[in-house]
């Protein structure tokens, strides 16, 4: 690994100032589970590495204010999986957090890093889309929030400008019952990067939402308000037609060695139907 300067700001403002000063020469370091590999392989050769883990404002990891749960940008997957509030309100996010890497990885990997890294296969992206997460950003121009769907742009790209960083990810606590489920496709049961990531929800009014990733440049969110997908009694053929539309935008890589495009497309349907069924069951239990 090439050497660099290591900075350990204690405030967000300091971090922003450093980022602004060094622009593309700087990299933010959260858990480092992506960044350290990228630096070792010289895919990224930053001059300055800014470690976010000593910033007091980014603690406590998880906060609740009655309407929102905020997850600070240094919060790791293990914290998320163990948090009773997240388990209660956002079980599908927990389902995605507990399959990221291994115990060792989850003790380091942050939720914000998972999103900011911009991998199309990020496990937490689909549930964050489903739960209508909002990304809190700090930058030279101050602070603002944008919906996760607008934040995720494409492979390795998120909506951050020069000098900007993510301070947290906020999730609105659902006011009405919602049933959600997360699932993924891997090549083995132990640690693996997913060839499909998929989260579904069923909500009041027959709305079903499906978010899926790893089959195109970014995770996408599709909503079905026809009521068919959410209807436990709807005939399979009807559901099937709608699922075809839901997954129409999938454009799996032709070159991937993890799974062929045909297999991924077919598995979207299989996993989609299964996750939907789980979501319907959970919705039934919740309401």
């Amino acid at each position: 690994m090439k050497t660099f300067e290591y900075a350990r700001p204690s405030t967000v403002a300091e971090a922003v100032a450093l980022l602004e000063q060094h622009g593309p020469d700087a990299e933010l370091l959260a858990g480092g589970t992506d960044l350290v590999i990228e630096m070792r392989n010289a895919w990224k050769v930053p001059k300055v590495v800014i470690d976010l883990k000593r910033i007091d404002e980014l603690r406590p990891a998880i906060r609740e204010n009655g309407q929102w749960i905020s997850i600070s940008s240094t919060t790791v997957m293990t914290d998320i999986a163990e948090d009773a509030r997240i388990q209660k309100y956002f079980p599908a996010l927990v389902e995605s957090a507990v399959v990221v890497g291994s115990v060792q990885i989850r003790a380091r990997a942050t939720l914000a890093g998972n999103i900011c890294n911009g991998s199309p296969a990020a496990d937490t992206a689909p549930p964050l889309l489903i739960y209508r997460a909002v990304v809190a950003i700090a930058g030279p121009a101050g602070r603002h929030k944008i919906p996760i769907d607008d934040f995720i742009v494409g492979p390795g790209k998120v909506a951050l400008g020069r000098g900007e960083l993510v301070t947290g990810i906020e999730l609105p606590i659902p006011r009405q019952p919602i049933g959600a489920a997360y699932t993924r496709l891997t090549r083995r049961r132990g640690t693996d990067l997913a060839s499909i990531t998929l989260c579904c929800s069923v909500e009041e009014g027959g709305v079903a939402r499906i978010a899926y990733g790893s089959v195109g440049p970014r995770a996408v969110l599709v909503e079905d308000s026809s009521g068919v997908l959410a209807d436990p009694g709807a005939p399979d053929e009807r559901k099937s037609e709608i699922l075809d539309e839901v997954f129409a935008d999938a454009s799996p890589s032709l070159r991937s060695m993890r799974a062929s495009p045909d297999y991924r497309r077919a598995m979207l349907r299989v996993l989609g139907a299964r996750a939907l069924q789980t979501a319907i069951d959970r919705f039934g239990d919740a309401s």
Binding site: A42, L185, R188, R189, G190, T191, M257, D262, V270, L271
Partner: protein, 747 residues
């Protein structure tokens, strides 16, 4: 003696170092003033090297040497266990992805890495690389090896290294009620020892010292001696216990390069490969095996006709031996009147394939057993039944001219069938499979051991075996404990130093308990004889009146411990008794393999599984593996070896394979996209069992183990998948995608 001796589930010798972190593996050893070596490689398979520009790399502070082929003696020396074909560094042309072109030696790892990136190798990628059997046999294909390397060989102008023909009876004259013919494919897989290969060398007086994670230290000693024109006594090889070998660490690879670097610089040098580089250093030969099985309608095997094409790499390493040993027993443990085997090792522009647990047998077993199942299905005969019907009985010379069947193999088959519940009803959606594997143990062998009974009655055993996890150390100590009546905690086993430990041919083919075990046993016998003579002189009794049993020495009217006897015998000066033992199995030039099997490793694997009809994912519900081991010297270690081999077998059956691009580059180098089983990929239930009839040739009737449980995993799984789904898949691995594709093709 059960507590420490034969049959005891004794703790692993060296176990404490392994659980405290104190065990010194090669990469843990530091030599003063040591240089760090980094390889320079090209990101392509077959290329012509035009020039190497070292200038930028030389500027990196701390760089001491950048070695290219030009810096070596000319012509570039070549070496190998079978053919002298592997150059120290790529010689004018790289022949596979990752073949080292140059090496940088620097004061720090970082400087070496940085400089290695800065070495500019001007090269021209050569079209027409040979990456498959079909590529290699295409009349227009380039020759992978220059014909001059094996000048007088009839195959020198082809990409076939050699073609071997074995068999008996007249296949063409046989009349069968049913003939089934199919092609089975076995993927390229890699050893993936968790300890990456490592090599060190240092000038040592007028000679050289070499450290390696090697399984065959004495072969390394010979190789280095020959290359450097040094007598064996001036080549000292240190072989710290390898962190897993599985065959991949048998033969010398980069030690000669590191030795040249050490001599050039006059400093110790060390090269530890990255995991990615180990993928480019060692792999198993992939294979395409066509089987024609002739059966009578009652299930009797009438003939077996094999064509085995093994895709070996650019250099032979031990691959020709893998081809012959793998295919010679292609017909398996059955009584077959006529067998024809044509086996070829086919050169290609890929990583040189080498020994890998099972040594060619798993590839052929996948084909034979799967095809037998197809025959059984076509005839409507139960798959267990057809095996029992044809299985050789103990003492039967099932391969004419070779060692007769050396076990009651039927017991292993029946035990496995019983444990899997072969006759029990099967739940819907499930399938079962049962398959037999047979491998011949070593065909030649030579092991020496020295055992020293020290003045306080403790024992040192010297053995040139490599303990890479199979637990050789423990077993040798148990033998000494049994024979000398000394508890295990007073026995040490010294290995891994060629200047101290007497010669051993090699650690391979599950040989060590049998061959080195016998040498240790004989060395203990030598000590007992010497002790008897000593006591006879000291107490003035005839030797015939002295007995040594379980650590107790008896002469008329006196009983003493072995230590008391030793001390009495040695007298006031003390000293020790040194025993020497030898075990030799000579070459038999008339035998196609150069010698008959010292023993057979026989295994039955039975599987019950479920296939997800939506995704194609296989869940192994039960995995039974039963070996015919003769005697379990240490049942704990036998179970460890069997279960480990079984899970490794699941790896190549379900998930492992190299993925290449069109230009012969390995795309899934390293741990991210080459999947091996984790703790979550295990069968829901695994059961290993052993048949013990003490009918092996080793001490106490032991046979070799360690490979058996891997041999027949694939066909057992494949057969169960067929039963569960009705699908027949003849290529591995059975990934979810592969199974799904088969389901889709059918639909």
């Amino acid at each position: 003696m059960k507590a420490d001796g034969i049959g005891a589930a004794a703790h692993r010798l060296g176990g404490i170092g392994r659980v405290t972190g104190h065990q010194q593996y090669l990469a843990d050893i530091r030599l003063a003033d040591m240089l760090h070596v980094k390889l320079v490689k090209l990101d392509c398979a077959r290329a012509r090297i035009v020039s190497v520009d070292k200038s930028a790399a030389e500027q990196v502070p701390g760089v001491r040497l950048i070695m290219t082929a030009d810096d070596l003696p000319q012509p570039v020396p070549r070496f190998g266990p079978q053919f002298q074909d592997r150059p120290i560094l790529a010689d004018g042309e790289t022949k596979y992805h990752g073949e080292p072109v140059a090496a940088v030696a620097a004061d720090t790892k970082e400087a070496a890495e940085e400089a290695a990136r800065l070495v500019v190798v001007e090269h021209e990628v050569l079209e027409g690389g040979v990456f498959s059997v079909a590529d290699a046999l295409d009349p227009g294909a380039p020759l992978v090896q220059d014909p001059s390397i094996r000048a007088d060989d009839q195959w020198a102008r082809t990409n076939i290294l050699r073609e071997h023909r074995f068999g008996w009876g007249d296949v063409d004259a046989q009349e069968a009620d049913l003939v089934i013919e199919n092609l089975y494919e076995f993927p390229m897989v890699t050893h993936f020892a968790i300890e990456p290969h490592g090599f060190m060398a240092a000038p040592d007086g007028e000679g050289i010292a070499v450290w390696s994670t090697i399984q065959h230290p004495y072969l390394l000693q010979k190789t280095i001696g020959k290359l450097l024109k040094l007598p064996l006594s001036k080549v000292r090889v240190f072989a710290p216990d390898p962190g897993g070998g599985f065959g991949g660490k048998q033969n010398p690879k980069l030690e000669p390069l590191v030795a040249y670097i050490a001599l050039h610089t006059g400093r110790p040098a060390r090269l530890v490969l990255t995991l990615e580089e180990t993928f480019q250093a060692v792999r198993r030969a992939s294979a395409e095996v066509t089987v024609r099985t002739g059966l009578n309608s009652d299930g009797t095997l009438v003939f077996e006709d094999f064509e085995c094409n093994f895709l070996i790499g650019a250099y032979v390493d031990i691959a020709d031996r893998v081809v012959t040993k793998g295919s010679y027993l292609a017909a398996g443990p059955y009584r077959v009147p006529a067998v024809r085997i044509v086996a070829r090792g086919i050169l290609s522009h890929t990583t040189p394939s080498t020994a890998f647990r099972g040594f060619g047998i798993p590839q052929v077993t996948w084909a034979r057993e799967s095809n037998l199942d197809e025959g059984a299905r076509a005839l409507g005969i139960d798959r267990l039944e057809i095996r029992l019907h044809n299985l050789a009985e103990k003492g039967e010379e099932f391969v004419p001219g070779d060692t007769p069947a050396d076990g009651h193999w039927v017991q292993s088959v029946q035990r496995a069938a019983e444990l899997i519940g072969w006759d029990q009803p099967l739940a819907p959606g499930r399938g079962r499979g049962i398959a037999l594997g047979l491998k011949s143990g070593p065909t030649t062998g030579l092991s020496y051991s020295t055992v020293r009974l020290l003045a306080d009655g403790s024992v040192l055993v010297f053995s040139g075996t490599s303990d890479m996890g199979q637990g050789a150390r423990t077993v040798f100590a148990q033998i000494a404990s049994q024979e000398l009546g000394v508890p295990l905690d007073r026995i040490s086993v010294v290995m891994g130093d060629s200047s101290v430990v007497p010669y051993d041919q090699q650690t391979s083919a599950s040989r060590s308990s049998v061959l080195m075990g016998t040498a240790v046993f004989n060395a203990c016998l030598d000590i007992r004889n010497k002790l008897t003579a000593l006591i006879a002189a000291r107490f003035e009794v005839p030797e015939s009146d002295i007995s040594i049993e379980g650590g107790v020495v008896r002469i008329p009217d006196v009983e003493m411990t072995i230590t008391e006897a030793l001390q009495a015998g040695l007298g006031p000066l003390g000293g020790e008794l040194v025993g020497n033992g030898e075990m030799r199995k000579d070459k038999d030039p008339s035998h196609p393999l150069g010698g008959s099997a010292a023993f057979f490793e026989f295994n039955t694997t039975a599987i019950e599984l479920e296939v997800d009809p939506g995704t194609g994912e296989i869940t192994i519900l039960r995995h039974i593996t039963v070996g015919d081991v003769g005697t379990a010297l240490n049942p704990l270690q036998v179970a460890g070896q069997d279960e480990g081999a079984a899970i490794m077998g699941l790896g190549h059956t379900l998930m492992e394979h190299y993925i290449f691009d069109e230009d012969g580059r390995i795309r899934n180098l390293g741990a991210i996209d080459y999947r091996i089983p984790t703790s979550m990929d295990l069968p829901l239930q695994m059961r290993s069992d052993s048949i013990e009839n003490a009918d092996g040739p080793g001490p106490y009737g032991v046979k070799g183990i360690s490979e058996g449980a891997l041999l027949a995993v694939s066909p057992a799984v494949g057969s169960a998948v067929t039963e569960a789904t009705g699908l027949i898949i003849r290529d591995l691995p059975l990934t979810p995608q592969r199974v799904w594709e088969a389901m889709t093709e059918r639909a």
